[in-house]
């Protein structure tokens, strides 16, 4: 064995930081991690289409598998291990009660196509969750099936287009502010619309005059995130709603940031027509490496008839599922079966745990924590906009001017301090953006430590130690990775003989 040039060890390991080869590099033919009985001898009915070649899967025992994935898990940052201040992603504590509830027999083991008489409790659960969502938003209807936030956006825009088609109105344009999530314009395009951007004003809000100038008889609607991606509430939202309605269009509100106002503001009172709710962000669900999510969409009376199937309804004989709209107004189906039931259970458990009093406190603490960070760092870092914020504190890169340290370098240095970086370079309307979302589940002590680290790093950057930042991170399982090479010549799967890592001995 040769000494590893980086660590100086033979294995390449550094203490508890272990090099873990791919499963394909450690398997052995014939080994298996499950004991399955011998299949009964039957005459095959595979119609001469039995698989001819092996799949090529490796063989590992259960202990090897457990060790492999445990070791992989240890190379991950997680909300369970520390503050995860990713703005616009909302990483809050994930209550384990939710996990216990979703695994209950009678919920986890239900088949989506069982007779509805055998799933009355499940339909009641969906109905209860729908009631919470409608009450919290002040909206009369909700479409439950979208599988993620972006899927909910699609659902909302499709409902708008279906309503317009129903009245014979073939409008072409959707207005989308520059500060919107990238999914907003992508969604409008995926629904067959032209995307027309609205600039942000100097205060990081929608430019009301620019918006009014864009209104016309071919505008189908507007998509606004509120609170917006700069972490700010849109104070002109009622005027925007009235103007878009006056022009015959609809108001789509991106509800990704509903966690800042839940229990405190009902979006229905602002005049919106539809809004998706990221159950995983506002009501907590495990993100598990980025998904799954769930994105139910609350709808106004005008849009409700167009909601995609299936619908849960309550009649004389109990709950029922409408899987085909008898009036044929539903714009179709957006997802297999009835939506993300697993997320519904978690969201309801979370809502019941907090209650209406606790949910209001959730929003307030999320906003308080973000403002505490903003106020504490305003002299060392550069807030993008003056004044207070909602649940996200947005900084730009002015404080790094002439230091030679980029936003990226600054974020990477934070990793060596044991923190996951905040969101970088988003929103696009701010130069070198750093978007911090602490969420309501961080304590004051935790925030104070984080603030102290950020302050120290900002001062170090200003002291002219750019080389330190450029070299960061140094203490991670891997240091900066070459993303350009990855994209130029993509290697997206393992192929036999490609092992460039040290094989496990």
């Amino acid at each position: 064995m040769n000494v590893d040039p980086v660590t100086g060890t033979y294995s390449g390991n550094r203490g508890l930081q272990v090099e873990e080869p791919l499963i394909f590099e450690q398997g052995e033919e014939g080994r298996c991690g499950v004991d399955l009985p011998e299949p009964a001898k039957v005459a095959s009915r595979l119609g001469n289409l039995a698989r001819r070649k092996p799949v090529g899967l490796p063989g590992l025992s259960e202990p090897q598998v457990v060790r492999h994935y445990t070791r992989l898990s240890q190379k991950n940052y997680a909300i369970d291990t520390g503050l995860y201040p990713l703005g616009s992603c909302t990483m809050k504590h994930n209550p384990r009660l939710n996990e216990k509830m979703v695994r209950l027999q009678g919920l986890a083991d239900l088949h989506p196509l069982q007779p509805v008489s055998t799933v009355q409790g499940a339909l009641e659960l969906i109905d209860q969750l729908a009631h919470w969502l409608k009450t919290l938003t002040g909206m009369p209807a909700v479409a439950m099936s979208p599988g993620a936030g972006a899927h909910g956006e699609l659902c909302g825009i499709m409902a708008i287009r279906a309503a317009l088609e129903h009245r014979g109105d073939a409008r072409k344009r959707i207005l989308v502010p520059e500060s919107a999530h990238g999914t907003n314009p992508a969604t409008a395009a995926a629904c067959g619309y032209e995307v027309d951007p609205i600039p942000a004003n100097a205060k990081g809000r929608v430019d009301l005059e620019a918006f009014r100038a864009k209104l016309g008889p071919d505008v189908a609607g507007i998509m606004i995130t509120n609170p917006n991606t700069c972490g700010l509430f849109e104070p002109d939202i009622v005027e925007i709603a009235e103007a878009i309605h006056g022009a015959g269009g609809f108001f789509y509100c991106d509800g990704a940031n509903f966690n800042a106002i839940v229990g405190r503001v009902r979006p229905g009172d602002l005049g919106i027509d539809c809004m998706h709710i990221n159950l995983h962000k506002t009501f907590s669900t495990p993100h598990g490496g980025g998904g799954p999510g769930a994105g139910p969409v609350v709808l106004s009376e005008a849009l409700a008839p167009f909601a995609p199937v299936p619908w849960v309804v309550h009649g004389a004989k109990g709950f029922d599922l409408v899987e085909q709209d008898p009036k044929k107004q539903a714009f179709g189906r957006l997802k297999g079966f009835h939506g993300q039931m697993g997320m519904f259970v978690r969201a309801l458990a979370y809502m019941m745990s907090h209650g209406s009093d606790g949910l209001k406190q959730v929003a307030e603490d999320a906003v308080l924590n973000a403002n505490y960070i903003l106020a504490s760092l305003k002299d060392d870092m550069s807030p993008a906009f003056p004044g207070t914020c909602m649940h996200e504190a947005l900084f730009d890169d002015h404080f790094l001017k002439d230091t030679g340290v980029t936003t990226l370098d600054f974020a990477k240095a934070l990793i060596d301090e044991g923190y996951h970086p905040m969101t970088m370079y988003f929103p696009l309307v701010v130069h070198g953006a750093l978007l911090v979302e602490p969420t309501e589940t961080e304590s004051k002590d935790s925030l104070d430590r984080f603030i102290e680290v950020l302050r120290s790093l900002a001062r170090r950057a200003k002291s002219g130690d750019a080389a330190y930042f450029e070299a960061a991170p140094k203490l991670t399982p891997r240091r900066r990775l070459d993303e350009t090479a990855a994209a130029r010549k993509p290697v997206l799967r393992w192929v036999p003989g490609s092992n460039t890592a040290k094989a496990a001995e």
Binding site: L22, F24, E29, L36, P39, V42, R45, G56, L57, L60, V65, H68, Y69, S73, Y77, I79, D80, L86, N94, L104, Q105, G106, D109, L110, P112, L113, L136, G147, A148, G149, A150, M158, T183, F233, R264, V265, R266, D269, L270, H287, G288, G289, P292, A294, G336, M341, V345, M351, G358, L368, N371, T388, E440, R478, R479, D482, A486, A487, V491, R493
Partner: protein
């Protein structure tokens, strides 16, 4: 409110640091008519025990497949998931991690997604796969949209034996994007000829294998016809375990393969969340939707992984993005990949053989019942039987006897009178001989 760490004293000192008097000052941008001082009309917070009781009571009102002999399939399958799978996905470092935007501290997620992509490519017989999508049905619609981009054509031909949900989702997108969909009626006999519908406008043909009625088909001829006409062949697989027993779509000439991965590692969960698999040929890579993990090196020259080719995605291309999807089914993909790793080559093939054997035995048992005939000649773990009366009420009557006897075709095609007597029946390794006897006996009684 056990999830909130701030004390009233904390809040006061924090407001002071911010320089405001009260929380209301932080909400002053909200128009006055929309500000609410009192909580909305919903119950107050409850303790852990109370929540457990309430949700437990809802669960108790259902008849779960763990308690009743169950033969339900049609796109969702009950399999035994080894205990290690759920244990590992519940490790906090997996469960509570986010999209791997910072590769230096997310190598765990990136490495398992790279393994997942490799496994999916191997299973489907394709060259590349993405890191998962919402579910099989949405992946199917995305495949058609991708075929439209690749061929610059705008007509999709769907098999009549494609799962109706997959077809409905595709039609929804077709309506709003303005592409055409052609689909012959459902054909439970497995005799449809799709090649004759392929013309110069056709971007793709979408066919399910085994199809929704259970038939296994040789797709080589159809692939050839598609390619000759410049169209792509999209193959949907709703039961991924079948790929352990039958020729993979890639070996039959498929250009895009989509599948529902729920059957490995994931519970039935009343329909979601599931895990959509998506694989294609390398030459179409840059048109493939969804998240991708690629191999690279760090500054020390060590192998590592990153999210890659994100220039196709919404956060860079915005309205020109390949699709609006910005997430994947990360945790479900993790469950899938752990289960498949535990199985390995030997276990996966044996699991498939157990499923096939169970279905063969059940088909033989049901075929002996008076008035019942098995329509599907070649199948994997699911087949269609014709009953002497409408299947919907029969399934209800079986449920009253505590047996979940299959999916009546009328549940999927409520308006097709011709399919009314058909019942889709699935058997997996979880079904015992006693389960099968119970179904046969109950069915005999109900049909008598």
């Amino acid at each position: 409110m056990r999830y909130l760490p701030l004390t009233p004293a904390d809040r006061q000192s924090m407001l002071a640091r911010i320089g405001v008097r009260s929380m209301d000052d932080l909400y002053r941008d909200v128009p006055p008519k929309a500000r609410r001082d009192k909580p909305v009309d919903l119950p107050s917070h409850q303790g852990e025990l109370e929540v457990e009781r309430a949700i437990g009571a809802l669960a108790a009102k259902n008849l779960g497949t763990a308690k009743a002999p169950s033969f339900l399939g049609a796109g969702a399958y009950r399999h035994h998931v080894p205990a290690a799978v759920d244990h590992l996905i519940q490790r906090g470092e997996f469960l509570t991690s986010y999209t791997p935007y910072q590769p230096e501290v997310t190598q765990g997620t990136l490495e398992y997604l790279f393994e997942f992509q490799t496994q999916v490519a191997l299973l489907t017989g394709m060259e590349v796969a993405n890191a998962s999508m919402y579910d099989g049905g949405t992946a199917c619609a995305e495949a058609v949209m991708m075929a439209n981009r690749v061929t610059r054509r705008s007509k999709a031909v769907l098999s009549g034996a494609l799962h109706p949900h997959y077809a409905e989702i595709t039609r929804t997108h077709a309506h709003f994007l303005g592409f055409k969909v052609e689909q012959p009626p459902a054909d439970p006999e497995g005799k449809e000829d799709l090649a004759r519908l392929v013309d110069a406008d056709t971007s793709c043909v979408v066919v399910q294998n085994p199809n929704v009625f259970g038939h296994i088909q040789d797709l080589s001829g159809l692939a050839e016809a598609c390619h000759k006409a410049g169209a792509l062949l999209v193959v949907a697989v709703t039961e991924v375990v079948s790929l352990g027993a039958i020729e993979p779509p890639g070996a039959m000439g498929a250009d895009i393969v989509v599948a529902e991965g729920q059957a490995l590692g994931n519970s039935l969960g009343f329909g979601g969340p599931y895990v959509g698999l998506f694989a294609t040929r390398e030459k179409f890579l840059r048109q493939m939707p969804g998240r991708l993990v690629g191999e690279t090196k760090d500054v020390d020259g060590r192998r590592g992984w990153v999210l890659t080719l994100s220039t196709r995605e919404q956060h860079i291309r915005r309205e020109k993005a390949t699709s609006n999807i910005c997430t994947n089914s990360g945790l479900c993909a993790l469950a899938f990949t752990i289960h498949l790793t535990l199985l390995g080559e030997a276990g996966f093939q044996r699991l498939a053989a157990l499923n096939h054997a169970a279905a063969c035995m059940l088909a033989d048992k049901l075929a002996t019942l008076p008035g019942v005939s098995v329509l599907t000649r070649s199948f994997f773990n699911e087949f269609t039987v014709k009953l002497p009366k409408p299947a919907g009420p029969v399934v209800e009557a079986l449920a009253k006897r505590g047996i979940l006897g299959g999916v009546p075709a009328s549940r999927l095609w409520p308006n097709e009178k011709a399919l009314e007597n058909l019942l889709l029946v699935a058997a997996t390794e979880t079904n015992t001989g006693a389960d099968m006897d119970a179904l046969a006996a109950a069915l005999k009684e109900v049909l008598a």
